[in-house]
Symmetry: C2
Subunit: 243 residues, 2 copies
Amino acid sequence: EIIAAASRLLNADGASAAQGGPLAGKHVLVTSGPTHEPIDPVRYIANRSSGKQGHAIARAAAALGADVTLVTGPVALADPAGINVVHIETAQEMAQAVANALPADVAIFAAAVADWRTTAQKQAKIKKSAGGKPQLELTENPDILAGVGNRTEGRPTLVIGFAAETENVVAEATRKRQTKGADWIVANDVSPARGVFGGDGNTVHLVTAHGVEDWPTLSKDEVAARLMAHIADHFNSKASVAE
Amino acid sequence: EIIAAASRLLNADGASAAQGGPLAGKHVLVTSGPTHEPIDPVRYIANRSSGKQGHAIARAAAALGADVTLVTGPVALADPAGINVVHIETAQEMAQAVANALPADVAIFAAAVADWRTTAQKQAKIKKSAGGKPQLELTENPDILAGVGNRTEGRPTLVIGFAAETENVVAEATRKRQTKGADWIVANDVSPARGVFGGDGNTVHLVTAHGVEDWPTLSKDEVAARLMAHIADHFNSKASVAE
């Protein structure tokens, strides 16, 4: 952990700072993709997520000079260049990888983390003949966003969550911003008719303490760039106030 | 359907036959990949399958001059060139796509079809707050291999199933060959330690009416080529007997 922190400092003083981007010297942590929760060795429960939005955010952060850690579930995307990528499968592994990646100046939770895992993962494949239909008993997974957002020590300056909803999108996002201790929530409507999952476009609402910004439909790359510009503005205005 | 059959005949007399491969004029149906069974708009149950083995088999069949239909679940693989590819998501959609693709001379069921689907798919995202842990009620999916293998009319000449097991691999495959009406079963051990899922290697056993062939560990492309050579031999020896 000391080595990781030192290498981040070196990056901040060296490569990233040399790029002179507005986020040079900042450590940005991004989660992306789904998690897979094993039922048995061949079956699992998953959330729909291509990882396109989260990976785009990681790239956008690196483009502004940040030192980026990307914690990602199983996706069909290549690791972005120049970014420290940590591959995980389950929500518990993601929670651990996030804890390991802290401290960070900004943490952006774009992954679609499974809310539940099976209580007891079967070591052998469940057979169809073995007593009819299996009952899946589910246990709640750790809430990674709330865990970081509600930290009293070592909390990132800016904690940003995502809310993928099919109903009452902005109301749900506003509620989540408060209960999860997030500074901002990026909310979107993932009803099947919207075609967000796996697609390249996204229509989001940015929910902050100041209210709700409705963004137009943009590419996921554009959403990432716009979000990252907001983050850079946030640090610049804070810096101005501090001076 | 008549048009599809006619175009296959034309292919047989035209393009495929012109290639002069040992399977020219044969229609080979291959299933590949996992199926995804939706729980709600954002969650689903899946089987582990990269589709690498099934797609390799489809390519190997085309290389021997066959007219190939590939019915595939969601995979991160490109559609193989020169093959009619049908994309599906659920087991029910795969069963329908297989029925639509018949008649076929050879049907190879390499897909990892989910055995169960949720009884009632929720139209809106299940909320964590809504009454604690959700219980997932499961319904058995149609057995696509058994459905085709046990056909009394329009059964392909050669019906080949796959059995991914973690215990008693050959015994399970032998049982499945009989109950599912398959001619051959390609069985493999998918215990996590084996690294078969997503990997490029595979160690399989070919179970036929004549017994069990244990194949060495091969690449998935080599398994596909060897299986397809067996199939070509089968048709050639049958042709010799008929003459």
